[in-house]
């Protein structure tokens, strides 16, 4: 597969600068740590958050962290599309007989981000060991599938928001509001957000399926907002829908693309 060669070449080239890579991996772990420290510090000053205790929110944060880190590793660099559109480099991708999106991902795979993924998995294990989950085979499966589905949802958001660059090059960090903002959102129970914001982030984009609904099933609690329990298992379906939607947005964007012509 051509894509595998592209990714392998990238990883090899980045591994040549060993000290740089080590520093970057360490930095990436620290970013993961930061998310968790925030949750711990919040619970230093309050016993519950939106009706949930520390163990439950910690589990949500761990699931969110895992999902985000995996998406960031796989497609996070699509946010650099802006620079490629501006510099005209995107033209080079279009003339090759491979998918432009897949090339973009392969071209920039950020090996350093394995640090954050590994850390996220570690935190997830810790969060489960912390005791809120009574493990059954079904729940174990849910624990494995949820971060993957969550990663696909985050990945779809990464791709869909990056396409803004096709219409608006000077869009700056506006996509961050939904990508990194999405990470912030999913770490906490959706009960803490206002109705409008919740509708937009949790239901319309589907962020509630990354951590909140699965956590309810895992800790065996009904939703205070009254959603049925089966939603906890729905993440893979939402992920597929999100991925298809993001693909369509991407194709529309590429059709809309006009080279800068320099």
């Amino acid at each position: 597969m051509a894509y595998r060669h592209l990714v392998a070449a990238q990883v090899r080239s980045q591994a040549q600068y060993r000290a740089s890579l080590a520093v970057d991996v360490a930095g990436s772990v620290l970013f993961g740590l930061l998310d968790i420290v925030s949750v711990v510090m919040l619970f230093r000053v309050t016993p519950t958050l939106g009706g949930f205790g520390f163990a439950e929110v910690f589990l949500m944060a761990a699931l969110a962290s895992c999902a985000f880190a995996t998406a960031d590793l796989a497609v996070g660099n699509v946010e650099r599309l802006r620079q490629y559109v501006r510099s005209g480099l995107f033209d080079a991708l279009l003339v090759r007989p491979l998918s432009s999106l897949a090339q973009l991902m392969a071209m920039d795979v950020a090996t350093r981000r394995v640090g954050r993924v590994a850390f996220g998995v570690g935190v997830l294990i810790l969060a489960v060991a912390n005791g809120p989950v009574e493990l059954t085979p079904l729940r174990l499966t849910l624990l494995t599938v949820t971060p993957i589905a969550g990663a696909v949802i985050f990945g779809a958001v990464f791709v869909a928001t990056a396409t803004v660059a096709f219409w608006w090059i000077e869009s700056g960090e506006i996509a961050n509001g939904l990508t990194y903002g999405g990470l912030n959102f999913t770490q906490y129970p959706i009960t803490i957000y206002g109705a409008l914001f919740r509708r937009l982030f949790a239901y319309a984009i589907g962020f509630a399926f990354v951590a909140y609904y699965p956590t309810l099933v895992l800790v065996d609690r009904p939703d205070p907002l009254g959603a049925p329990a089966f939603l906890g298992y729905a993440a893979p379906v939402i992920a597929v829908v999100a991925a298809v939607a993001a693909g369509l947005v991407w194709r529309t964007g590429v059709r809309h693309y006009r080279s800068t012509g320099s």
Binding site: D24, F31, M41, G172, G181
Partner: protein, 261 residues
């Protein structure tokens, strides 16, 4: 002065980027305030010395301050050092530290009118914000913002100046992004840490001087005497960091090798 005016004008031309930044800051404002209000809703009426309105102001003014002090920026100077373009800065008769500081203050002046005002107005439309009760607070807050901008500028300068030795500053840049957010009071007020640690951070590190102190001044956490002491801490960091910048710059110039080609 001319450099400051140029800094003001330069950023006034990037209007679309400004709009994008303001929208992003506001979205994060909604996210952060939800968490903060959940913290307060769960327990008593106040948390670590802030009531609900003070905490709301803390979040929204904080989202505005990000753009004023320019917490995150591309390592422009580091790139100039790497490429050798920095030589044109060195040829001018003013120390590069002062050149860049003047330009940065001009930029901050423009940011106060745009990137600070918009999130605060958005916040005020949706939430009940805290208006300072003591008139002197406004003056202290302006002073505190100015000092915060200089502290933040110095920190960014030092991160960039690492390029004189390292060429690639991604490591220091990452470290800066992490520490400034969590120890500076942006992610949550530093008073969420144990008191001893919070005080240690405020006095012993420059980070709280950038976001935490101006916001504590604005929401009047503590008496006017405490506020003056906080400004004193900021002033101390300004002097120390600018001296450090000058020293690093001089050492760096000796180290600088302009790569040919």
């Amino acid at each position: 002065m001319a450099l400051a005016a140029a800094g003001f004008q330069r950023y006034a031309t990037y209007r679309q980027a400004m709009v994008a930044a303001v929208v992003t800051n506001s979205v994060f404002g909604f996210l952060r305030i939800a968490v903060m209000l959940a913290v307060i809703g769960a327990g008593t009426r106040t948390v670590v010395g802030y009531d609900e309105r003070q905490l709301a102001t803390f979040v929204w003014a904080g989202q505005g301050l990000i753009g004023v002090v320019l917490l995150w920026s591309l390592p422009e100077l580091a790139e100039r050092i790497r490429s050798g373009d920095v030589i044109t800065d060195l040829l001018r008769p003013i120390d590069p530290v002062w050149q860049l500081l003047a330009a940065d203050l001009g930029r901050a002046g423009y940011a106060v009118l745009t990137r600070f005002v918009v999130p605060v107005v958005v916040g005020a439309l949706v939430f009940d914000l805290y208006a300072p009760r003591r008139p002197v607070t406004y003056a202290l807050f302006m002073g505190s913002i100015l000092l915060a901008t200089i502290v933040c500028f110095s920190c960014r300068y030092l991160v960039n100046a690492a390029a004189y030795w390292l060429l690639d500053v991604r490591g220091p840049q990452t470290a800066w992004t992490l520490t400034s957010g969590i120890f500076g009071g942006l992610n949550f007020p530093v008073w969420f840490f144990p008191d001893a640690l919070a005080i240690g951070l405020i006095v012993g590190t420059p980070f709280p001087s950038i976001i935490q102190i101006p916001l504590d001044v604005l929401v009047e956490r503590g008496s006017p005497t405490v506020q003056l002491e906080l400004l004193g801490v900021q002033a101390g960091w300004v002097v120390a960091l600018l001296a450090l910048c000058r020293w690093v710059q001089r050492r760096g110039e000796r180290k600088l090798v302009i790569q040919g080609g």
